[in-house]
Protein backbone atom coordinates (compact mmCIF):
# COMPACT_ATOMS: atom_id res chain seq x y z
CA UNK A 1 0.00 0.00 0.00
CA UNK A 2 1.19 3.49 -0.74
CA UNK A 3 -0.16 6.89 0.18
CA UNK A 4 1.72 9.58 -1.71
CA UNK A 5 1.18 13.15 -0.59
CA UNK A 6 2.90 16.45 -1.23
CA UNK A 7 5.42 17.03 1.55
CA UNK A 8 4.90 20.24 3.48
CA UNK A 9 6.46 21.68 6.59
CA UNK A 10 3.19 22.27 8.43
CA UNK A 11 1.29 19.01 7.89
CA UNK A 12 4.46 16.97 8.30
CA UNK A 13 6.28 19.06 10.89
CA UNK A 14 6.98 16.05 13.14
CA UNK A 15 7.78 13.58 10.39
CA UNK A 16 10.79 11.34 10.95
CA UNK A 17 12.29 8.64 8.78
CA UNK A 18 14.15 5.58 9.95
CA UNK A 19 16.97 5.49 7.45
CA UNK A 20 18.37 2.09 8.42
CA UNK A 21 17.83 -0.32 5.53
CA UNK A 22 16.19 -3.28 7.20
CA UNK A 23 14.03 -6.21 6.23
CA UNK A 24 10.29 -5.62 6.35
CA UNK A 25 10.61 -1.89 5.69
CA UNK A 26 9.71 -1.79 2.05
CA UNK A 27 13.10 -2.79 0.69
CA UNK A 28 12.25 -6.45 0.06
CA UNK A 29 12.31 -6.33 -3.71
CA UNK A 30 14.29 -8.34 -6.24
CA UNK A 31 14.61 -5.60 -8.85
CA UNK A 32 15.36 -1.88 -8.49
CA UNK A 33 15.45 0.84 -11.09
CA UNK A 34 18.97 2.22 -11.60
CA UNK A 35 20.47 5.00 -13.72
CA UNK A 36 23.59 5.35 -15.88
CA UNK A 37 25.09 7.98 -13.53
CA UNK A 38 25.47 5.27 -10.86
CA UNK A 39 26.69 2.45 -13.13
CA UNK A 40 30.29 3.07 -12.00
CA UNK A 41 29.41 2.14 -8.42
CA UNK A 42 26.80 -0.45 -9.30
CA UNK A 43 28.79 -2.57 -11.75
CA UNK A 44 31.19 -3.65 -9.01
CA UNK A 45 28.38 -5.24 -6.98
CA UNK A 46 25.13 -5.72 -8.87
CA UNK A 47 24.14 -7.38 -12.17
CA UNK A 48 22.55 -4.74 -14.41
CA UNK A 49 19.95 -5.41 -17.10
CA UNK A 50 17.27 -3.78 -19.17
CA UNK A 51 13.61 -4.61 -18.58
CA UNK A 52 10.70 -3.51 -20.70
CA UNK A 53 8.25 -1.17 -18.99
CA UNK A 54 4.87 -2.88 -19.41
CA UNK A 55 3.05 0.44 -19.81
CA UNK A 56 5.35 2.49 -22.00
CA UNK A 57 7.08 -0.36 -23.85
CA UNK A 58 10.41 1.44 -23.26
CA UNK A 59 13.52 -0.25 -21.91
CA UNK A 60 14.62 0.74 -18.42
CA UNK A 61 17.82 -0.13 -16.59
CA UNK A 62 17.58 -2.21 -13.42
CA UNK A 63 19.80 -3.96 -10.90
CA UNK A 64 18.89 -7.53 -10.04
CA UNK A 65 18.83 -8.13 -6.27
CA UNK A 66 17.31 -11.62 -6.09
CA UNK A 67 15.94 -14.48 -8.11
CA UNK A 68 12.33 -14.54 -6.97
CA UNK A 69 9.77 -11.89 -6.15
CA UNK A 70 10.58 -9.99 -2.92
CA UNK A 71 13.97 -11.72 -2.59
CA UNK A 72 16.63 -9.09 -1.90
CA UNK A 73 19.89 -10.98 -1.34
CA UNK A 74 21.70 -7.73 -0.44
CA UNK A 75 19.37 -7.16 2.49
CA UNK A 76 20.46 -9.27 5.46
CA UNK A 77 19.88 -9.32 9.18
CA UNK A 78 22.62 -6.72 9.56
CA UNK A 79 21.45 -4.33 6.88
CA UNK A 80 22.20 -3.70 3.22
CA UNK A 81 25.40 -5.59 2.40
CA UNK A 82 26.98 -3.52 -0.32
CA UNK A 83 29.29 -0.55 -0.57
CA UNK A 84 26.80 1.33 -2.69
CA UNK A 85 23.02 1.49 -2.38
CA UNK A 86 21.02 2.45 -5.52
CA UNK A 87 19.48 5.94 -5.59
CA UNK A 88 15.92 4.60 -5.89
CA UNK A 89 16.45 2.77 -2.58
CA UNK A 90 18.15 5.72 -0.90
CA UNK A 91 15.28 8.02 -1.88
CA UNK A 92 12.66 6.08 0.02
CA UNK A 93 10.11 6.99 1.34
CA UNK A 94 10.27 10.13 -0.84
CA UNK A 95 9.54 10.54 -4.50
CA UNK A 96 9.31 13.24 -7.12
CA UNK A 97 5.96 14.71 -7.98
CA UNK A 98 5.09 17.55 -10.31
CA UNK A 99 3.05 20.63 -9.65
CA UNK A 100 2.00 23.32 -12.08
CA UNK A 101 3.53 26.66 -11.26
CA UNK A 102 3.05 29.81 -13.31
CA UNK A 103 6.20 31.84 -13.85
CA UNK A 104 5.90 35.08 -15.82
CA UNK A 105 2.50 34.04 -17.16
CA UNK A 106 3.81 30.71 -18.45
CA UNK A 107 2.72 27.50 -16.72
CA UNK A 108 5.41 24.89 -16.11
CA UNK A 109 5.59 21.57 -14.34
CA UNK A 110 7.87 22.07 -11.37
CA UNK A 111 9.29 19.08 -9.50
CA UNK A 112 8.10 18.83 -5.89
CA UNK A 113 8.79 16.32 -3.12
CA UNK A 114 6.16 13.74 -2.26
CA UNK A 115 6.29 11.30 0.64
CA UNK A 116 4.70 7.89 0.99
CA UNK A 117 3.02 8.11 4.39
CA UNK A 118 2.37 4.36 4.39
CA UNK A 119 6.06 3.52 3.98
CA UNK A 120 7.19 1.39 6.95
CA UNK A 121 10.14 3.73 7.62
CA UNK A 122 7.89 6.75 8.20
CA UNK A 123 6.74 7.81 11.64
CA UNK A 124 7.05 10.63 14.11
CA UNK A 125 9.05 9.11 16.91
CA UNK A 126 12.28 7.62 15.60
CA UNK A 127 14.75 8.34 12.86
CA UNK A 128 15.94 11.43 11.07
CA UNK A 129 13.78 14.55 11.37
CA UNK A 130 12.64 15.82 7.97
CA UNK A 131 12.21 19.42 9.12
CA UNK A 132 14.15 21.67 11.46
CA UNK A 133 12.35 22.94 14.59
CA UNK A 134 10.98 26.04 12.82
CA UNK A 135 10.12 24.43 9.50
CA UNK A 136 13.43 24.69 7.62
CA UNK A 137 14.79 21.72 5.71
CA UNK A 138 16.88 19.31 7.76
CA UNK A 139 20.27 18.16 6.42
CA UNK A 140 18.55 14.81 5.84
CA UNK A 141 15.87 16.40 3.63
CA UNK A 142 18.55 18.36 1.78
CA UNK A 143 20.28 15.05 1.06
CA UNK A 144 16.98 13.55 -0.13
CA UNK A 145 16.49 16.57 -2.42
CA UNK A 146 19.82 15.97 -4.08
CA UNK A 147 19.05 12.25 -4.47
CA UNK A 148 15.70 13.09 -6.10
CA UNK A 149 17.41 15.57 -8.40
CA UNK A 150 19.93 12.89 -9.42
CA UNK A 151 17.05 10.49 -10.11
CA UNK A 152 15.32 13.06 -12.31
CA UNK A 153 18.46 13.47 -14.37
CA UNK A 154 18.86 9.69 -14.31
CA UNK A 155 15.49 9.15 -15.96
CA UNK A 156 16.59 11.32 -18.86
CA UNK A 157 19.96 9.58 -19.18
CA UNK A 158 18.28 6.18 -19.01
CA UNK A 159 15.79 7.15 -21.72
CA UNK A 160 18.57 8.47 -23.94
CA UNK A 161 20.60 5.27 -23.47
CA UNK A 162 17.78 2.88 -24.27
CA UNK A 163 16.53 4.89 -27.25
CA UNK A 164 20.01 4.92 -28.73
CA UNK A 165 20.52 1.20 -28.17
CA UNK A 166 17.13 0.33 -29.62
CA UNK A 167 17.99 2.45 -32.66
CA UNK A 168 21.27 0.58 -33.10
CA UNK A 169 19.54 -2.76 -32.42
CA UNK A 170 21.99 -3.53 -29.64
CA UNK A 171 19.48 -4.79 -27.08
CA UNK A 172 18.74 -8.49 -26.92
CA UNK A 173 16.69 -10.65 -24.64
CA UNK A 174 18.68 -12.86 -22.29
CA UNK A 175 17.54 -16.06 -20.57
CA UNK A 176 19.12 -16.21 -17.13
CA UNK A 177 19.41 -19.82 -15.95
CA UNK A 178 21.12 -20.45 -12.66
CA UNK A 179 21.68 -23.53 -10.55
CA UNK A 180 22.23 -23.47 -6.81
CA UNK A 181 24.30 -25.78 -4.57
CA UNK A 182 21.22 -27.67 -3.43
CA UNK A 183 20.53 -28.64 -7.04
CA UNK A 184 17.55 -26.33 -7.43
CA UNK A 185 17.35 -24.31 -10.60
CA UNK A 186 15.94 -20.95 -11.45
CA UNK A 187 15.32 -19.26 -14.75
CA UNK A 188 14.46 -15.61 -15.12
CA UNK A 189 12.70 -14.12 -18.11
CA UNK A 190 12.01 -10.56 -19.17
CA UNK A 191 15.63 -9.48 -18.90
CA UNK A 192 17.56 -7.82 -21.70
CA UNK A 193 21.21 -6.94 -22.17
CA UNK A 194 23.66 -5.75 -24.83
CA UNK A 195 24.11 -7.98 -27.89
CA UNK A 196 27.90 -8.35 -27.84
CA UNK A 197 28.17 -9.68 -31.40
CA UNK A 198 26.37 -6.66 -32.74
CA UNK A 199 28.44 -4.39 -30.54
CA UNK A 200 31.63 -5.86 -32.03
CA UNK A 201 30.25 -5.38 -35.51
CA UNK A 202 29.17 -1.78 -34.89
CA UNK A 203 30.28 0.75 -37.49
CA UNK A 204 32.70 3.53 -36.58
CA UNK A 205 29.79 5.91 -37.00
CA UNK A 206 27.64 3.99 -34.51
CA UNK A 207 30.51 3.90 -32.01
CA UNK A 208 31.01 7.61 -32.35
CA UNK A 209 27.35 8.30 -31.63
CA UNK A 210 27.50 6.10 -28.52
CA UNK A 211 30.75 7.61 -27.34
CA UNK A 212 29.58 11.15 -28.05
CA UNK A 213 26.75 10.78 -25.55
CA UNK A 214 28.96 8.95 -23.00
CA UNK A 215 26.90 5.80 -23.49
CA UNK A 216 29.81 3.62 -24.64
CA UNK A 217 31.04 3.66 -21.06
CA UNK A 218 27.52 2.73 -19.84
CA UNK A 219 27.41 -0.24 -22.20
CA UNK A 220 30.71 -1.71 -21.08
CA UNK A 221 29.80 -1.28 -17.45
CA UNK A 222 26.52 -3.11 -18.04
CA UNK A 223 28.42 -5.94 -19.70
CA UNK A 224 31.01 -6.07 -16.90
CA UNK A 225 28.21 -6.14 -14.34
CA UNK A 226 27.01 -9.51 -15.62
CA UNK A 227 29.85 -11.13 -13.65
CA UNK A 228 27.88 -10.19 -10.54
CA UNK A 229 25.27 -12.83 -11.37
CA UNK A 230 27.81 -15.27 -9.94
CA UNK A 231 28.10 -13.13 -6.79
CA UNK A 232 24.31 -13.18 -6.47
CA UNK A 233 24.23 -16.99 -6.83
CA UNK A 234 26.86 -17.26 -4.09
CA UNK A 235 24.77 -15.06 -1.81
CA UNK A 236 21.82 -17.34 -2.42
CA UNK A 237 23.95 -20.45 -1.80
CA UNK A 238 25.15 -19.05 1.52
CA UNK A 239 21.55 -18.41 2.46
CA UNK A 240 20.53 -21.93 1.44
CA UNK A 241 23.40 -23.53 3.35
CA UNK A 242 22.58 -21.52 6.47
CA UNK A 243 18.96 -22.61 6.14
CA UNK A 244 20.06 -26.26 5.88
CA UNK A 245 22.38 -25.82 8.85
CA UNK A 246 19.62 -24.58 11.08
CA UNK A 247 17.02 -27.02 9.78
Amino acid sequence: MTRHVLLDNVTHKNLRVRTALEKGRGYDVNVVRVFPSEFGHLQREYPLFFVKNAESGHFETIALLGFVDRENLYLTGTGWEADYVPLTVQRQPFLIGFQEQVVDGVPRQAPVVHVDLDHPSVGDTEGEPVFLPHGGESPYLERVNSILAAIRQGHEASRSLSQLLVGLELIESIALNVEFDDGSKQSLGGLYTINQDKLRGLSANGLEVLHGRSHLRDIYMMLASLLNVKRLVEKKNRLLSRARGTA
Binding site: V102, G105, P133, G136
Partner: protein
Protein backbone atom coordinates in the same frame (compact mmCIF):
# COMPACT_ATOMS: atom_id res chain seq x y z
CA UNK B 1 -23.76 51.72 -7.97
CA UNK B 2 -21.02 53.82 -6.49
CA UNK B 3 -20.33 57.08 -8.29
CA UNK B 4 -16.72 58.05 -8.72
CA UNK B 5 -16.69 61.65 -9.85
CA UNK B 6 -12.97 62.13 -10.47
CA UNK B 7 -11.72 61.06 -13.88
CA UNK B 8 -8.29 59.71 -14.65
CA UNK B 9 -6.37 62.34 -16.64
CA UNK B 10 -6.35 61.64 -20.37
CA UNK B 11 -3.98 62.20 -23.21
CA UNK B 12 -4.30 61.27 -26.88
CA UNK B 13 -2.24 61.26 -30.06
CA UNK B 14 0.61 59.40 -28.40
CA UNK B 15 2.88 57.59 -30.83
CA UNK B 16 2.87 53.89 -29.86
CA UNK B 17 6.64 53.82 -30.44
CA UNK B 18 7.13 56.37 -27.65
CA UNK B 19 4.48 55.20 -25.20
CA UNK B 20 6.94 53.88 -22.60
CA UNK B 21 9.04 57.08 -22.73
CA UNK B 22 5.90 59.17 -22.54
CA UNK B 23 4.63 57.51 -19.34
CA UNK B 24 8.09 57.44 -17.76
CA UNK B 25 7.54 61.15 -17.15
CA UNK B 26 4.29 60.44 -15.28
CA UNK B 27 4.09 59.38 -11.67
CA UNK B 28 0.31 59.13 -11.70
CA UNK B 29 -2.12 57.14 -13.84
CA UNK B 30 -3.06 58.39 -17.25
CA UNK B 31 -5.47 57.19 -19.92
CA UNK B 32 -4.06 57.19 -23.43
CA UNK B 33 -6.96 57.29 -25.87
CA UNK B 34 -6.54 55.46 -29.16
CA UNK B 35 -3.02 54.19 -28.46
CA UNK B 36 -3.84 50.74 -29.89
CA UNK B 37 -6.62 51.67 -32.29
CA UNK B 38 -4.73 50.53 -35.38
CA UNK B 39 -3.96 47.04 -34.05
CA UNK B 40 -5.47 44.27 -36.24
CA UNK B 41 -6.93 42.68 -33.10
CA UNK B 42 -8.81 45.88 -32.29
CA UNK B 43 -10.04 46.16 -35.88
CA UNK B 44 -11.27 42.53 -35.95
CA UNK B 45 -13.08 43.09 -32.68
CA UNK B 46 -14.94 46.04 -34.17
CA UNK B 47 -16.10 43.79 -37.04
CA UNK B 48 -17.62 40.94 -35.03
CA UNK B 49 -16.86 38.52 -32.23
CA UNK B 50 -16.76 35.73 -34.83
CA UNK B 51 -14.03 37.55 -36.81
CA UNK B 52 -12.14 38.28 -33.63
CA UNK B 53 -12.34 34.69 -32.50
CA UNK B 54 -11.17 33.38 -35.89
CA UNK B 55 -8.29 35.84 -35.93
CA UNK B 56 -7.11 34.85 -32.44
CA UNK B 57 -7.39 31.11 -33.08
CA UNK B 58 -5.25 31.59 -36.18
CA UNK B 59 -2.29 32.11 -33.83
CA UNK B 60 -3.24 29.42 -31.33
CA UNK B 61 -1.25 26.19 -31.26
CA UNK B 62 -3.35 24.19 -28.80
CA UNK B 63 -1.26 25.07 -25.73
CA UNK B 64 -3.55 24.26 -22.78
CA UNK B 65 -4.81 27.38 -21.03
CA UNK B 66 -6.01 27.94 -17.47
CA UNK B 67 -9.37 29.64 -17.10
CA UNK B 68 -11.38 30.76 -14.08
CA UNK B 69 -15.02 29.73 -14.41
CA UNK B 70 -18.06 30.15 -12.21
CA UNK B 71 -21.84 30.23 -12.28
CA UNK B 72 -23.73 33.37 -13.23
CA UNK B 73 -24.74 34.03 -9.61
CA UNK B 74 -21.36 35.59 -8.77
CA UNK B 75 -22.22 38.35 -11.24
CA UNK B 76 -18.73 38.11 -12.72
CA UNK B 77 -17.06 39.20 -9.47
CA UNK B 78 -14.01 36.96 -9.11
CA UNK B 79 -13.69 36.94 -5.38
CA UNK B 80 -14.12 34.78 -2.29
CA UNK B 81 -17.07 32.82 -1.01
CA UNK B 82 -18.63 33.83 2.34
CA UNK B 83 -16.16 34.24 5.18
CA UNK B 84 -13.32 33.83 2.67
CA UNK B 85 -13.72 30.07 2.90
CA UNK B 86 -12.67 29.56 -0.70
CA UNK B 87 -12.53 31.40 -4.00
CA UNK B 88 -15.92 31.74 -5.70
CA UNK B 89 -14.61 30.32 -8.98
CA UNK B 90 -12.69 27.25 -10.00
CA UNK B 91 -9.69 26.85 -12.27
CA UNK B 92 -9.97 24.61 -15.27
CA UNK B 93 -7.46 23.47 -17.89
CA UNK B 94 -8.97 23.98 -21.27
CA UNK B 95 -8.31 25.31 -24.75
CA UNK B 96 -8.58 28.84 -26.04
CA UNK B 97 -11.21 27.63 -28.53
CA UNK B 98 -13.35 26.36 -25.70
CA UNK B 99 -12.93 29.60 -23.73
CA UNK B 100 -14.07 31.65 -26.72
CA UNK B 101 -16.95 29.25 -27.42
CA UNK B 102 -18.18 29.45 -23.82
CA UNK B 103 -18.09 33.23 -23.97
CA UNK B 104 -19.78 33.50 -27.36
CA UNK B 105 -22.52 30.97 -26.51
CA UNK B 106 -23.75 33.40 -23.86
CA UNK B 107 -23.21 36.57 -25.86
CA UNK B 108 -26.82 37.76 -25.56
CA UNK B 109 -27.26 36.38 -22.05
CA UNK B 110 -27.58 39.28 -19.56
CA UNK B 111 -26.25 37.04 -16.76
CA UNK B 112 -23.70 34.69 -18.32
CA UNK B 113 -21.69 32.10 -16.41
CA UNK B 114 -18.32 33.69 -15.69
CA UNK B 115 -15.37 32.85 -17.93
CA UNK B 116 -12.01 34.52 -17.40
CA UNK B 117 -8.57 33.75 -18.70
CA UNK B 118 -6.16 36.19 -17.12
CA UNK B 119 -2.53 37.18 -17.34
CA UNK B 120 -1.54 34.59 -19.95
CA UNK B 121 1.89 35.16 -21.51
CA UNK B 122 1.03 36.33 -25.02
CA UNK B 123 4.03 34.84 -26.82
CA UNK B 124 3.57 31.48 -25.09
CA UNK B 125 -0.11 30.99 -25.85
CA UNK B 126 -0.51 32.96 -29.09
CA UNK B 127 2.91 33.07 -30.73
CA UNK B 128 3.10 35.75 -33.39
CA UNK B 129 0.08 37.72 -32.19
CA UNK B 130 2.28 40.27 -30.43
CA UNK B 131 3.62 41.45 -33.79
CA UNK B 132 1.42 44.44 -34.54
CA UNK B 133 -0.78 43.81 -31.49
CA UNK B 134 1.45 45.07 -28.71
CA UNK B 135 3.55 48.15 -28.07
CA UNK B 136 7.05 48.29 -29.54
CA UNK B 137 9.22 47.55 -26.52
CA UNK B 138 12.42 49.24 -27.66
CA UNK B 139 14.91 48.36 -24.96
CA UNK B 140 12.23 47.78 -22.31
CA UNK B 141 12.11 44.28 -20.84
CA UNK B 142 8.36 43.90 -20.53
CA UNK B 143 6.23 40.83 -20.07
CA UNK B 144 3.21 40.99 -22.37
CA UNK B 145 -0.01 39.29 -21.24
CA UNK B 146 -3.46 38.69 -22.66
CA UNK B 147 -6.75 38.67 -20.72
CA UNK B 148 -9.91 37.25 -22.25
CA UNK B 149 -13.31 37.00 -20.59
CA UNK B 150 -16.92 38.05 -20.41
CA UNK B 151 -18.39 40.41 -17.80
CA UNK B 152 -16.01 40.22 -14.87
CA UNK B 153 -14.90 42.30 -11.93
CA UNK B 154 -11.55 42.05 -10.21
CA UNK B 155 -11.41 43.80 -6.84
CA UNK B 156 -8.85 46.54 -6.19
CA UNK B 157 -5.31 45.24 -5.93
CA UNK B 158 -1.83 46.51 -6.73
CA UNK B 159 0.90 45.06 -8.90
CA UNK B 160 4.61 45.47 -8.29
CA UNK B 161 5.24 46.31 -11.94
CA UNK B 162 4.41 49.37 -14.00
CA UNK B 163 1.63 48.63 -16.45
CA UNK B 164 0.38 49.85 -19.80
CA UNK B 165 -2.86 47.98 -20.53
CA UNK B 166 -4.60 48.22 -23.89
CA UNK B 167 -8.28 47.38 -24.36
CA UNK B 168 -8.49 45.37 -27.58
CA UNK B 169 -12.15 44.33 -27.47
CA UNK B 170 -15.12 45.19 -25.27
CA UNK B 171 -14.93 47.98 -22.70
CA UNK B 172 -13.27 48.16 -19.32
CA UNK B 173 -13.80 50.49 -16.40
CA UNK B 174 -10.71 51.11 -14.28
CA UNK B 175 -11.13 52.59 -10.81
CA UNK B 176 -7.84 53.62 -9.26
CA UNK B 177 -6.75 54.47 -5.73
CA UNK B 178 -3.33 55.90 -4.77
CA UNK B 179 -0.97 53.58 -2.86
CA UNK B 180 -1.58 55.48 0.40
CA UNK B 181 -5.23 54.35 0.50
CA UNK B 182 -4.17 50.89 1.76
CA UNK B 183 -5.77 51.26 5.19
CA UNK B 184 -9.05 52.57 3.73
CA UNK B 185 -9.46 49.70 1.29
CA UNK B 186 -9.81 46.90 3.86
CA UNK B 187 -7.38 44.64 2.06
CA UNK B 188 -7.77 40.88 2.48
CA UNK B 189 -5.24 38.14 3.26
CA UNK B 190 -1.75 38.31 1.81
CA UNK B 191 -1.35 34.52 1.78
CA UNK B 192 -4.73 33.46 0.39
CA UNK B 193 -5.64 35.57 -2.60
CA UNK B 194 -8.09 35.10 -5.49
CA UNK B 195 -5.44 35.37 -8.19
CA UNK B 196 -2.06 36.09 -6.64
CA UNK B 197 -2.53 39.61 -5.27
CA UNK B 198 -4.28 40.75 -2.11
CA UNK B 199 -7.59 42.43 -2.89
CA UNK B 200 -9.88 44.97 -1.24
CA UNK B 201 -12.72 43.13 0.50
CA UNK B 202 -15.13 46.00 -0.13
CA UNK B 203 -17.67 45.52 -2.91
CA UNK B 204 -17.19 48.71 -4.90
CA UNK B 205 -20.67 48.41 -6.43
CA UNK B 206 -22.42 48.13 -3.08
CA UNK B 207 -20.05 49.24 -0.34
CA UNK B 208 -21.10 48.20 3.15
CA UNK B 209 -20.12 51.39 4.96
CA UNK B 210 -21.20 50.00 8.33
CA UNK B 211 -18.65 47.29 8.00
CA UNK B 212 -16.05 49.29 6.05
CA UNK B 213 -16.47 52.95 7.17
CA UNK B 214 -13.02 54.12 6.06
CA UNK B 215 -13.86 53.10 2.49
CA UNK B 216 -15.80 56.37 2.18
CA UNK B 217 -12.44 58.14 2.54
CA UNK B 218 -10.87 55.89 -0.12
CA UNK B 219 -13.65 56.91 -2.51
CA UNK B 220 -12.65 60.55 -2.04
CA UNK B 221 -9.31 59.67 -3.63
CA UNK B 222 -10.62 57.38 -6.36
CA UNK B 223 -10.52 58.20 -10.04
CA UNK B 224 -12.02 56.20 -12.84
CA UNK B 225 -12.27 55.89 -16.59
CA UNK B 226 -14.00 53.68 -19.11
CA UNK B 227 -11.76 52.46 -21.92
CA UNK B 228 -13.08 51.68 -25.39
CA UNK B 229 -11.38 49.38 -27.90
CA UNK B 230 -7.98 50.85 -28.77
CA UNK B 231 -7.69 52.88 -25.56
CA UNK B 232 -4.89 52.29 -23.09
CA UNK B 233 -4.11 53.13 -19.49
CA UNK B 234 -0.87 53.59 -17.64
CA UNK B 235 -1.21 52.19 -14.11
CA UNK B 236 1.90 53.00 -12.10
CA UNK B 237 3.37 50.30 -9.91
CA UNK B 238 1.62 49.99 -6.54
CA UNK B 239 -1.55 51.90 -7.52
CA UNK B 240 -4.68 50.04 -6.46
CA UNK B 241 -6.88 49.20 -9.44
CA UNK B 242 -10.39 47.79 -9.54
CA UNK B 243 -11.15 46.49 -13.03
CA UNK B 244 -14.54 45.75 -14.57
CA UNK B 245 -14.91 44.18 -18.00
CA UNK B 246 -18.22 45.51 -19.27
CA UNK B 247 -19.14 43.71 -22.47
CA UNK B 248 -20.02 40.13 -23.42
CA UNK B 249 -16.49 39.64 -24.80
CA UNK B 250 -13.52 41.60 -23.49
CA UNK B 251 -9.89 41.30 -24.47
CA UNK B 252 -7.01 43.21 -22.96
CA UNK B 253 -3.30 43.08 -23.71
CA UNK B 254 -1.01 44.57 -21.10
CA UNK B 255 2.69 45.28 -20.74
CA UNK B 256 4.31 44.92 -17.33
CA UNK B 257 7.81 46.11 -16.66
CA UNK B 258 10.12 47.55 -14.09
CA UNK B 259 13.46 49.16 -14.50
CA UNK B 260 15.49 47.65 -11.68
CA UNK B 261 18.63 45.48 -11.55
CA UNK B 262 17.98 41.78 -12.21
CA UNK B 263 19.26 40.76 -8.76
CA UNK B 264 16.32 42.48 -7.06
CA UNK B 265 13.56 40.09 -6.04
CA UNK B 266 9.91 40.74 -5.13
CA UNK B 267 9.58 43.45 -2.44
CA UNK B 268 6.72 41.40 -0.98
CA UNK B 269 9.28 38.83 0.22
CA UNK B 270 10.84 41.51 2.41
CA UNK B 271 7.41 42.44 3.75
CA UNK B 272 6.68 38.85 4.73
CA UNK B 273 10.09 38.56 6.36
CA UNK B 274 9.53 41.79 8.28
CA UNK B 275 6.10 40.68 9.45
CA UNK B 276 7.65 37.43 10.66
CA UNK B 277 10.66 38.97 12.42
CA UNK B 278 9.76 42.54 13.37
CA UNK B 279 6.03 43.13 13.74
CA UNK B 280 5.68 41.25 17.01
CA UNK B 281 8.70 42.79 18.73
CA UNK B 282 8.12 44.83 21.91
CA UNK B 283 6.93 48.32 20.90
CA UNK B 284 10.19 50.07 21.81
CA UNK B 285 12.25 47.64 19.78
CA UNK B 286 9.85 47.87 16.88
CA UNK B 287 10.14 51.65 16.90
CA UNK B 288 13.90 51.39 16.90
CA UNK B 289 13.68 49.13 13.87
CA UNK B 290 11.36 51.58 12.21
CA UNK B 291 14.17 54.13 12.51
CA UNK B 292 16.71 51.64 11.24
CA UNK B 293 14.57 50.86 8.20
CA UNK B 294 14.08 54.58 7.56
CA UNK B 295 17.83 55.09 7.76
CA UNK B 296 18.96 52.18 5.62
CA UNK B 297 16.03 51.34 3.36
CA UNK B 298 13.52 54.12 2.94
CA UNK B 299 15.63 57.27 3.14
CA UNK B 300 19.14 56.19 2.22
CA UNK B 301 21.47 59.10 1.68
CA UNK B 302 24.89 60.48 2.37
CA UNK B 303 24.53 59.79 6.09
CA UNK B 304 23.92 56.08 5.50
CA UNK B 305 27.39 54.98 4.50
CA UNK B 306 29.53 57.89 3.31
CA UNK B 307 31.58 57.67 6.53
CA UNK B 308 32.55 54.04 5.76
CA UNK B 309 35.48 53.43 3.41
CA UNK B 310 34.03 52.51 0.02
CA UNK B 311 35.59 49.03 -0.01
CA UNK B 312 33.94 48.19 3.35
CA UNK B 313 30.42 49.37 2.58
CA UNK B 314 29.20 45.93 1.53
CA UNK B 315 25.41 45.76 1.59
CA UNK B 316 25.32 49.47 2.57
CA UNK B 317 27.11 50.50 -0.58
CA UNK B 318 26.15 50.08 -4.18
CA UNK B 319 24.82 46.57 -4.62
CA UNK B 320 26.46 44.74 -7.46
CA UNK B 321 25.76 41.18 -8.50
CA UNK B 322 28.38 39.69 -6.16
CA UNK B 323 27.11 41.61 -3.13
CA UNK B 324 23.55 40.48 -3.97
CA UNK B 325 24.77 36.89 -4.14
CA UNK B 326 26.36 37.12 -0.70
CA UNK B 327 23.22 38.66 0.79
CA UNK B 328 21.03 35.98 -0.79
CA UNK B 329 23.21 33.16 0.52
CA UNK B 330 23.18 34.62 4.02
CA UNK B 331 19.40 35.12 4.01
CA UNK B 332 18.74 31.67 2.61
CA UNK B 333 20.97 30.10 5.22
CA UNK B 334 19.44 32.10 8.08
CA UNK B 335 15.90 31.30 6.96
CA UNK B 336 16.54 27.57 7.09
CA UNK B 337 15.95 26.92 10.78
Amino acid sequence: MTRITASIPEIRDVDAGHAFERVAAESAPVVIRGLASTWPLVQKGLESSAELSRYLLGFYQDTPVTAFVSESDIGGRLFYTDELADTNFRQIKTTLGSVLDRIRQHESDPAPPTVYMGSAALDHFLPGLSTGNSLPLGGIKATVRIWIGNRTTVAAHYDVLDNIACVCAGRRRFTLFPPDQLANLYVGPIDFTPAGQSVSLVDLDQPDFDRYPRFAEALQHAQSAVLEPGDAIFIPSMWWHHVEALESLNILINHWWRDVPAHMGPPGDALLHAILNIRDLPAAQRRAWQGIFEHYVFEPGSQTADHIPRHRRGALGEIDDDTARRMRALLRNNLNR
